[in-house]
Assembly symmetry: C3
Homo-oligomer: 322 residues x 3
Amino acid sequence: MTKTVEFGKDLTGLEGLSVDQISTILDVAEPFKEISERPIKKVPVLRGKTIVNLFYEPSTRTRVSFEFAEKRLSADTVNISGSGSSIVKGESLVDTARNLEAMRIDMVVIRHGSSGAARFLADRIPSNVINAGDGQHEHPTQGLLDMLTIRDHMGGIEGRRVCIVGDILHSRVARSNIYGLTKLGADVAVCGPPTLIPHGIEELGVQVFKRVEEAIEWAEVLNVLRLQLERMKAGYIPSLREYNRFFGISVARLEKAPRDILILHPGPMNRGVEIDSHVADGPHSVILRQVTNGVAIRMAVLYLLAGGSPERAEAAKMENRS
Amino acid sequence: MTKTVEFGKDLTGLEGLSVDQISTILDVAEPFKEISERPIKKVPVLRGKTIVNLFYEPSTRTRVSFEFAEKRLSADTVNISGSGSSIVKGESLVDTARNLEAMRIDMVVIRHGSSGAARFLADRIPSNVINAGDGQHEHPTQGLLDMLTIRDHMGGIEGRRVCIVGDILHSRVARSNIYGLTKLGADVAVCGPPTLIPHGIEELGVQVFKRVEEAIEWAEVLNVLRLQLERMKAGYIPSLREYNRFFGISVARLEKAPRDILILHPGPMNRGVEIDSHVADGPHSVILRQVTNGVAIRMAVLYLLAGGSPERAEAAKMENRS
Amino acid sequence: MTKTVEFGKDLTGLEGLSVDQISTILDVAEPFKEISERPIKKVPVLRGKTIVNLFYEPSTRTRVSFEFAEKRLSADTVNISGSGSSIVKGESLVDTARNLEAMRIDMVVIRHGSSGAARFLADRIPSNVINAGDGQHEHPTQGLLDMLTIRDHMGGIEGRRVCIVGDILHSRVARSNIYGLTKLGADVAVCGPPTLIPHGIEELGVQVFKRVEEAIEWAEVLNVLRLQLERMKAGYIPSLREYNRFFGISVARLEKAPRDILILHPGPMNRGVEIDSHVADGPHSVILRQVTNGVAIRMAVLYLLAGGSPERAEAAKMENRS
C-alpha cells in the first residue's frame, strides 16, 4: 500500500484509475471485510455524513449493498428511486443534482440508464459521486469486487487468465472488468455470440473466443454475465435454449477443462440459461463471496472518497464509539 | 418467567412453540411496552445489527410496526419491497436470501404470499427469520399481540372464551390465534359463512358457530377478521351487504350478549362490513391497544431471537447509552 | 427574538400564525443553517423521537428535505408513501393516523391531495402534525423558506414588493406565501392568466397584475410558480408556448425592469415554460438558496414543535454527543 496514492472526488469508472488507485481500493477493502463479520457491524467513520442513493433504474441488490456499506460506516442515507416514473416530477438530472447539493449532501451513489450519467453529474456538483452503473458504460464497484474476489482466491491478479462470458456488447460489468483486470496485469478474454461481442473489442487488450469450449480450455477464471432476457426479443439471440446450448456454463463443459476454473457471476442469475445450478452452487463458485466482498469494496470506496487515508483504514475499523 | 426457556433461530409460526416459549414472549413484551412511552424511545439492544424487512406483499402497517420496533432497539434496517413486481429481477426467494446472507445480515422479517415461505427461508440461511405473514399459513406476531391484548384486559388467557369471526379459511391471523390461544388454555371458537370455514377445523381444538348470535352468546372476546373484498368476486360470499347483515359486528348484536365482550380486530378495518364504527370505536374495543402491543411484541421477539435473556429484559430496557 | 412566543401542537398553515410566531421560526432557522455546513451534520436534538413522513402524493424533493432535517436532528424516521395506491389497504386517513398514534409516534409530516387533510389529522391525534402540502390549501414550510430567503437577500421583509407569478388558483405555495408575507408587512401582488387568478384574491390584501411586464415594473422579488402541465389539458391555458410568451420570465423581460429583481421558484422548474434557464441560473436567482434554507426551516419547525425553546436554539446546535 503506497502512501502517496490520492483519489479524485468521484468514482465513475475504472478506465481512468491508475494501477495504484485500484490496488489501494482492493487493499483498503481488506480491513473493512472484517467489520461485517462482527456482532456489532458499525464504525463511526462517516457519522454525520449525508449520502443519497439515487437510483433511476431499479436495482435492489446494488442499492442494498451500498445501503449496508453506508450504514455500517454510520452515514445518514436517503433513498430516491425513480423506477418507472420520473424522479422529481420530470426534473432534469442536473436540476435534481443541484437541488440535492443545495441540501448539503456529501455523496451521491447514482444508477442511471444512460451511459455517462455519473460523469455528467460528477462534473456539476461538488459532492462525491459514485457510479453504481450507468447505461452500457461502467459499473466500477462491481468490477472492483470481482477483482477482489479473484485476488482472494487466486492469490493475485497479474498473469491470471480471466474470460468474461456472455453479452459483452451491452454489459457495463464487462467493461469495468476489462479496464480493471487489464490494468492489474491479468490476461483477459471475452466469449459470446458474435452479435453480442462489440466490434474492435480487441483494442481494449482482450482476446475473443467464439466458442465457449475454447474459453474453458484457456481460462483460470470465468466471469459469467447475466443474459438480459430482453436480448432475445431484440433478436440478438435466437432463444434462451439456444443460448444455453452454446454458451451455458454447465458441469459437463467444465469437466473438460484442464484445470479447476473459478466461477464468478455478478447476479442475479438466470439459472439454466447462462449458468447451470450445479455450477452456480458448486465447489468452484465464488458468487456469494462476490456479494460479501461487494459490501467491503463499497465501504472502502466511500471511505477513500470521503478523504480517508489508505494507511489509516486498519485503525479506522477499530474505532467503535458513536 | 422460567429461566430455562430457549428460543430457536426463527419465529415462523406459533404452531411449533411451547407454552413456555409463548408465555415468555408475552412476559418479555411487558418491559418493552414502556420504551415506546418514553420521551426518548430508544435502547441500544440491537445496535450494529442489520435487519432486512423483505416484503413481497405490501403491508404498510406491519412493516411500519416492525420498523419502529427495530429502530427503537437501535438496529440498522433496510427495506426491500416487491409490491407488484419481482424483487431482484425475478430472482428466486432462495437466491435473494443467500445474497442477503452474503451481505452479513442478522435478521430477516419476511412477508410473502406463499404459505411456508418463511420456513423455506429459515431452513436455508443462518440469519434469524421472522414470519410477518406467509400466505394462508401463519402471522405469529399478530397472534402474539392479540394474546397480549387479551391477557392485558382479561387478566389471563386460560379458560377465556375467544371467538374468531370471519374468513377463517384464508386467514393466517386466525391460524396463529388458534394455535397460540389453545396452547395457553383458552376456549377457542370460530364463526363465519360455511364457505369460509375450513373442513375439519374442529381438529385444531376449536368449536364452530354457524350463527354470529350464538358466538356472541358464548364469547368473552371476539377477534373480528378483516374481510378481504376479493372474496366476494371469488364467490365465497354473495355481497358485502349480505355479509354485514349476517356476520357484521354491530352494537345491536352486542347488546344482546349476556356480558361485555372485548373486541379485537387485526386491521385494517372495513368499517360497515365486518365491523360497525360504533363497535370499532366503542368502549369495549381494544383495537388500538393491539397496535400499541404490536410494537412491544415485535421488540420482544427481536430481542429474544437475537439471544437476549428473558430475565434480563427488564435490565435491557434501562440501558440508554448509544 | 421574543421569549414569550409559544407554538401550538401543529403547523398546518401560515394563515393562523402570529407575526411573532413566523418571525421566531425564521430566527430559529438561522442557527440551524450552520449545521448543514458542518463536516458532521448531526445534533442530538430529536434523538429517540419517531417521525413518520406520510406522503399520499409523491414529492421526492419535499420528502427528502424533511428527511434530511429529521436525520440531522437525530430523529428516527419512517417513510410511508401511497403514490398511486391506497396507503394501508384503503384505510381511511383517520384510521391510518390513529394506528400510527397507537405505535407512539411523535410527529407526522403529511402531504395529501385534499385541502384540509393536515388540519383534519391534527385535530384527531396528539402527535405534532406538519403540513407538507395539502391540496390547494397551504404548504407552510415552503412559504417560510421563501420568506427566509427573501429576508436573507433583501435584509428584511417589511415593505418589500413581492409578486407571485403563475397559477395562483391551484397553488398552495401561493397561498402560504400570501399569508406569511402580508403578515410580515410585505407588499404582495400576484400575476397570471385570468383563468388562473382566483376571484376575490384582493381580499387577501394582494394586488393583481394582469400583465407580467407591469409586475416586473413594480416588483423587487418575483416568486415564479411551477406551471402544472396538466393545466393545459384542463383548458386553463391554450398552450405552453402561449404561456411562456405571455408569462414566462426571461432575461429580455427582466432587463426592462427599473431595478434588479430577486428570482425565487419553489421547484421543480419547467425550464423554458414559466422560467428561462438564463434567469433560473442567473445572478439574481436564489432558487438553490431556497432549497438550502428549506432544510434549516424544517429543522426549526421540528425543533419548535417538539418543544424546543427559541432562545436555546443557538445552544442546541452546539450539542454534539450521541
